[in-house]
């Protein structure tokens, strides 16, 4: 069974910290990162968030780098293109291909760096949230946002049964694979169609079964929400404020000295 990000979040020690604080930190990071005019604050945010995820959140560094590498590759490709085709200023280096001149100038390079750092900071903020706050914690946050109860209840049940059906799907896939259900393109297509049909029917049946079992426990349209009292500790507050202050200072300084 492959692990999903939620599994890491469930075992993270930061899971038991105040959810609102974590969301505030992430929201702050994303906003400052995007609004920054220089690549320095986003880099600082990315560094701090990655450190927090790996050090405080006890995510293994290797795993963290692996998941970060997926968006990083994508960003790197875009950054190269941006560097070559955007911006103006003095050319740093360039070359000719088939009598077509390609070059990187200072403006393009700075823009590329900015895009790269902003993406990185955004990703690391989101990974921080994803790796320290499992869905089960987010439900209580959703509850506080005054979304309709039935919406949250349905999402809670969807969350629960995703895993049940994931297991069913893996089981069916395996059963198909060992009987050569994926030996070529054609059979794969048929097998996949069968898998999805079965899953659909199963989920329909499951729905009926849950309804029976829920009414057997006197279901009358109320679900209990998982709400833990997790007061913000003093040291967390101090650390967060320091972090905010440092990033804001950087942001302010780089704004004035902006080259743009």
């Amino acid at each position: 069974m492959t692990n999903i990000l939620d599994d890491y979040a469930l075992v993270s020690p930061l899971r038991y910290r105040n959810n609102w604080l974590k969301i505030a930190i992430v929201g702050f990071g994303v906003l400052v990162g995007v609004s920054s005019q220089s690549f320095i604050p986003p880099f600082a945010i990315a560094l701090c968030m990655s450190f927090a995820t790996v050090h405080f959140g006890k995510t293994s560094l290797k795993f963290y780098l692996t998941i970060l590498s997926a968006p990083a590759v994508f960003v790197l490709l875009s950054v190269i293109i941006i560097a070559f085709f955007f911006g103006s200023g003095t050319e740093i280096f360039g070359f000719n291909i088939f009598s077509y001149h390609l070059g990187v100038n200072t403006g393009g390079l700075e823009m590329a760096l900015l895009v790269f750092s902003r993406t990185l900071s955004g990703m690391s903020c989101l990974f921080f949230l994803a790796l320290t706050t499992p869905m089960v914690e987010l439900f209580s946050v959703l509850k506080a946002t005054k979304l309709p109860d039935s919406f949250i209840e349905i999402s809670m049940m969807m969350y629960r049964y995703i895993f049940v059906f994931l297991e069913v799907a893996w089981g069916i896939k395996y059963a198909q694979t060992v009987r050569l259900g994926y030996k070529d393109w054609r059979t794969s297509l048929t097998s996949l169609a069968m898998l999805s049909t079965t899953l659909f029917i199963r989920s329909w049946e499951q729905g009926e079964k849950i309804f029976i079992s829920m009414s057997a426990r006197c279901y009358d349209g109320k679900l209990i929400f998982f709400e833990e009292k997790r007061p913000i500790r003093a040291n967390e507050l101090v650390l967060t404020c320091t972090y905010f202050a440092v990033v804001l200072t950087l942001w302010y300084l780089t704004r004035i000295n902006s080259v743009f």
Binding site: Y161, V164, I210, S213, S215, R217, C218
Partner: protein, 440 residues
């Protein structure tokens, strides 16, 4: 009588007749097993018993009153009759264990604080407090089963119905669930299970119903129904192993007659060829009576230095000559100590272990086991604890059972019953509590 059905019939939309006229009477506080092959109508019957399905014909009576099917009455029924489904995933729908266990109490209209208290109590009782914040997909099959049981327990039902409670569990997981079922029953919950495991029905239940194709084809105490080969054949089942072994031994004249051992100690106890002897009896003794011959020693005691001998009078000749079947019991047998883990105190505990020369320690119930684990107590027995302790005692060994709550009553009762039925007085010591504190 807590639940009763009269001429219950049910058929599904596609016309299959699932139940064809069921009459059952379920007494309060009993352990009932419904036995039958798959598709014999057990699950349908269970859904009728708590009002999930409405019978096409016949009635279900709860506490003597026929069941109504308006939503208010159904609420009452479902509060009192809880169902644990066979597949835990059909039942556990909430994203965390805490939420699922709190689901029932919330629906019963308890306040938030009451729900919290009930859930904490139930989690502690079932021994799953450590999973409270976990999502169900991070639990094993046995753990999920415990959560499913806790979800029903938190509603404090009078009757608990479990559909195939031990299906798909590993042996130790199954033993733990069985312990839990006994404990719940000890706290006066009527337990109803369905199973096709004849061993389970035979050794666990007080009363057994055999179902086949929507009919009850036999019912009675386990020792009565499981000797009926015709009935077993009709229900597509076989005899329990203990009974089968006993029957073969008895046929070869290696075991005493008319015992129906439900457990290994009882089977071992029946393992004695009848020893016959002429005795003189007074005129008021009738055939079939048991006469106490007192304590024999020296050359009359065969197995141990002192033996208590009872004689069952088989046949009386004129003038008081009688043929009697002797049962001998060695007097110096081992002992069983029961220790209440709720009052665990390390220092006196260690002292008792040393003083009493305990050979083996066993723990019953999740709570006691985890406490013993934490205290680094080396447990030799963790499943079938009472039976194994009795076996040890019979071999002259001394064992200690660590347990708590209702399980103590269960253990004491079980050992007393064994002593009574076998005539062997097992030395039973209650270490840190008094017999008067028990509900027995």
């Amino acid at each position: 009588m807590i639940l009763e059905t009269k001429g219950l019939k049910y058929s599904y939309h596609d016309g299959t007749q699932a139940l064809k006229g069921i009459d059952v009477k379920i007494k309060k506080g009993k352990k009932i097993a419904f036995v039958g092959k798959n598709g014999s109508g057990k699950s349908t019957l269970f859904m009728l018993l708590n009002g999930t399905l409405k019978p096409k014909e016949g009635t279900v009576h709860f506490h003597g009153k026929p069941m109504e099917y308006d939503s208010k009455s159904l609420r009452e029924i479902r509060k009192s009759v809880g169902i644990v489904f066979q597949n835990s995933d059909d039942q556990i729908f909430a994203p965390t264990v805490y939420q699922d266990v709190g689901f029932g109490p919330t629906n019963l209209g308890h306040s938030k604080e009451e729900v919290d208290e009930l859930v904490e109590k139930t989690l502690e009782y079932i021994g799953i407090t450590e999973f409270r914040n976990k999502p169900p997909h991070h639990l094993s099959g046995g753990q999920k089963k415990r959560v499913a049981i806790a979800g029903v327990c938190s509603m404090e039902p009078e009757v608990m119905i479990l559909d195939e409670p031990l299906a798909n569990l590993d042996p130790v997981g199954a033993d733990e669930i069985l312990d839990l079922l006994n404990e719940l029953n000890q706290n006066n919950t009527t337990m109803i299970i369905s199973t096709h495991d004849v061993e389970l029905a035979y050794s666990w239940a007080d009363y057994v119903y055999f179902m086949n194709e929507g009919n009850i084809i036999g019912e009675g105490a386990p020792e009565d129904v499981f000797k009926d080969m015709e009935l077993l054949k009709k229900s597509n089942l076989r005899q329990p192993r203990t009974l089968e072994i006993y029957n073969e031994l008895e046929r070869r004249n290696l075991a005493t007659r008319n015992k129906f051992p439900t457990s290994v100690p009882e089977l071992v106890h029946s393992l004695k060829p009848p020893e016959l002897m002429w005795i003189e009896v007074s005129p008021d003794v009738k055939e079939g009576d048991v006469v106490n011959l007192g304590i024999l020693h020296g050359e009359y005691a065969i197995n141990s230095p002192y033996e208590a001998v009872n004689a069952k009078v088989l046949h009386i000749h004129p003038e008081g000559h009688a043929i009697a079947e002797m049962t001998r019991h060695g007097i110096k047998s081992g002992g069983i100590f029961i220790y209440d883990m709720d009052k665990y105190d390390a220092v006196p505990f260690k002292r008792i272990l040393a003083e009493e020369d305990i050979d083996t320690i066993g723990a019953m119930g999740k709570k006691s086991k985890s406490l013993a684990d934490k205290q680094l107590i080396d447990l030799q027995i963790t499943s079938g604890v009472i039976d194994k302790s009795i076996l040890m005692a019979l071999c002259g060994k001394r064992s200690m059972i660590l347990t708590s709550g209702g399980m103590i009553d269960h253990a004491v009762k079980r050992i007393d019953e064994y002593a009574e039925s076998s005539g062997i007085a097992i030395q039973l010591s209650l270490v840190n509590f008094e017999r008067e504190e028990l509900g027995v």
